[in-house]
Symmetry: C2
Subunit: 558 residues, 2 copies
Amino acid sequence: MTTGKIRIIPLGGLGEVGKNMMVLEYGDEILIIDVGVMFPDDEMYGVDLVIPDASYLADKKSRIRGILITHGHEDHVGALPYILPMLDFPPVFATRLTQGLIQVKLKEHRLLDKATINVITPGDELKLGSSTIEFFRVNHSIPDAVGLAIRTPLGIIVHTGDYKFDYTPIDGKPADFGKLGSLGNEGVLLMMGDSTRVETPGYTPSERVINDSLDKIFANAPGRIMLATFASLISRVQQVADTASRYDRFIALVGRSMVNNVQMAMELGYLDIPPGMLIRAEDINKFRPEQVVIICTGSQGEPTSALTRIANQDHRLIRIQRADTVILSATPVPGNEKMVHRTINNLFRQGAEVFYQGISNVHVSGHGAQEELKLMLSLIRPKFFIPVHGEYRQLVLHAKLGYSLGIPDENIVVAEDGDIIEVTPDTIKTVGHLSSGNVFVDGLSVGDVGQIVLRDRKVLSQDGILMAVLTVDKETGQPIAGPDIVSRGFVYMRDAEELLESARIRVLESFADLNNHSANGHMSDWAFVKDKIKYTLSEFLYEKTHRRPMIIPVVMEV
Amino acid sequence: MTTGKIRIIPLGGLGEVGKNMMVLEYGDEILIIDVGVMFPDDEMYGVDLVIPDASYLADKKSRIRGILITHGHEDHVGALPYILPMLDFPPVFATRLTQGLIQVKLKEHRLLDKATINVITPGDELKLGSSTIEFFRVNHSIPDAVGLAIRTPLGIIVHTGDYKFDYTPIDGKPADFGKLGSLGNEGVLLMMGDSTRVETPGYTPSERVINDSLDKIFANAPGRIMLATFASLISRVQQVADTASRYDRFIALVGRSMVNNVQMAMELGYLDIPPGMLIRAEDINKFRPEQVVIICTGSQGEPTSALTRIANQDHRLIRIQRADTVILSATPVPGNEKMVHRTINNLFRQGAEVFYQGISNVHVSGHGAQEELKLMLSLIRPKFFIPVHGEYRQLVLHAKLGYSLGIPDENIVVAEDGDIIEVTPDTIKTVGHLSSGNVFVDGLSVGDVGQIVLRDRKVLSQDGILMAVLTVDKETGQPIAGPDIVSRGFVYMRDAEELLESARIRVLESFADLNNHSANGHMSDWAFVKDKIKYTLSEFLYEKTHRRPMIIPVVMEV
């Protein structure tokens, strides 16, 4: 039967880059695509991670047929340790390497024995409820990435995952053009397509182009070579290993996630490194500099990562020495530019030769550029189109691209997280909106840091805090100790004694003033007293400094 | 006579982008080149502006012969209102438009009548002490930009200022090739050259290319056009005015600095806008949409700027309406990417068509790319070379460029702020280093916010603060009120009552514990007591939350 409708509800990744999570509902069946994290931006003070708000699913757990994972990047799997327990561990389906990466992650969270992660081979068919799902191979900056073709009773829904087209990928497995073409021939009801790189004209170059750059750098490097890249970029590690082999260099892995991922990828057969080529980081100095390649984490300038520590002369084992060559084989994720530049500057300061994207071709994107997005749309030829994975402008530009290829305007929906999109065989439209948003992980807690805590952190970060603490006699209402003024992050207290003493006097004055004007000669409405102190101090301090610290009056009765 | 030496001391702009300031000392004569600000980065919590540390000059004020300004951008003139008073207002020398921009700035700081800003016409010779200075025209993203040729008794020193070579600049005034060539023929002892764009191969396109993009956008815009750019980018305003004139549109200026700068540039003859073409922002709605161009500030996504407010539906006069076209004619300054993207996303959300650098050629850089840097070095052919204006990696790359053009390694100095470089007719070398750095402007104060205040703000921004306030009997040492726990930015207090109550109990316990173990049955060493409370709470809260708020114990004796 072909009546009914499908509801598409993005819980993450639409209108933002990261924390991808998509809900598909048909009747009482629910499928979920990806469960990723997002890294906090500057305004999410002190937050460790951002995960999707899955509260919509709280009363629908039993209806979830499965979670389909497109690939093993953090923004697609990183929230599983948080969301799986909330949803009573529905079965997860992923390709082999992706499963391996998820298991590493679940193990860290001691959830390995509770979760079921099923391995799917691209081409297999998976039956979940009334839908049949096929995983098809795409290229991305991690092996084993797939898109999804979901055969629902209403028609085929294609989700591209993150993708590009690489005719000569490092692992020898290009996208499944045959499948994409046959899906298009069969007729696709809806396509959801990756919009990340829609602003870039042309094609993303093949990973293969990196080989030439690496070869040239290796041929000329007089000493050690260090290469930093994403720990999940297994194909890049393979390229470095192949080049190192040609130049008779040994490889040392540095950085926890690099070590873990490479080990897992080798075990699963995704990496081919000759035995004896890997050496321990501790043993680097037993080899001549020109015999060594160090592959490490830190390509994003993350403060505690290997390369950042090396650049800061703060690494346990490794210091930059003259004649070192460092390669940053990655592009800064938006927002990380400053940290990456700081790392590069520090490496140069210590005399390293540094190659990085912008002055050398040492990285290519994992996402398709405009011509590839057009190719995907042209192969799939969907009736309806929802651009996914991108900030709003990218979704709009991807929608325009779809329109330019002949998809009618009314068949394209630009949606954001929480939108409820209804699809029938004949129509697509946004019918509602969930209250959805960011859930913050901070330390051990998930979700307790909200707008109020963040607003306070912001105020504190700008002008600090000033506390006025006063003990009063509960009988007479007279101050008997204090006010003590304590401040942090506002002024340098040793240089501001006069200012703080004046603030103390202001507090006493406004307190006396209040007592004089109250009916029984003293105040006991402490909320009112505190407000008055707060206002007085705030005005006084702004006049003197043009700063607005958070002001906290504390009154204790004895 | 040609004995002696010159000392070059960069106080800003070397090893960083911004707050350019360079000191030249010959005998007892001091010249200063540029006095700029830098905008604070994410880690300079709450700081408004960063200015150079000029304390080296504090005891040398009487020796300063003059301040030479290369052009009117903030990173070259912005610190004048702070530094001029510190140096007892030495005379400033600048081209006409630059003088105008400085005056606008000094007026805001009520310093106009104290300062002397002399106007120099490119080509004029200026005699200061034993040196003669010639200002020569260069191209940059502001009119009236110059480089400096300083004829000292030891030889010619050339400072390029910020520059590019534009053969077809909007104001019709290309760089002074004749002067550059003749300086090279005469023999230049030292060149200091702008390194900002050394990472980009090729040439920076002429400002002229923007005309075609603007023309195409204007031809197709169905409604209003809004263009945001730097308020100082006078030539861009001229381009928009010229295009608007061809399409019979009126111009409204929005944003205080845009209004001020355009007005000043018109008065000084740097902008040619036909009378009657300018309309008031209040009158926009009296015209049909297709008759209107709005030129506004906000191209960097600055929170309080015109375009950001418009994008946030928060502007006093202007709301986005269907068929609006918005042009961001600027590149995000590094660090501003997220804010700019947010603005673009919000404009798209409200239905505007948005053109921005990356998807459309609506901006070109004001700095020369690699081939232009080579051209400058080839025209000047200096004996010694100091790359200036750039982060460390850019200075290194510029040095390598100089080396590739035949300047010997030992004749190139890569220096950073505070380095003291000594130049004789035969040698150049770094001979020392001043303690130099960033001076922070925060509210009314200059320099009082230092590392301690910033560190506190950082801690506060990450995990907030928790105060434990306790009143004790000074005779018995027993607590008689509290402990009260007050926290901000740590947890959402309403949801954490249990945690905070446990914290309260921990404080009481550790206090009782201390009393039991003290000689006379109670403590009076409050520093010790506070440390103990702090430690106990810190451990307890970390165990429960994995967060580390700042902990402030306050003990009051009555």
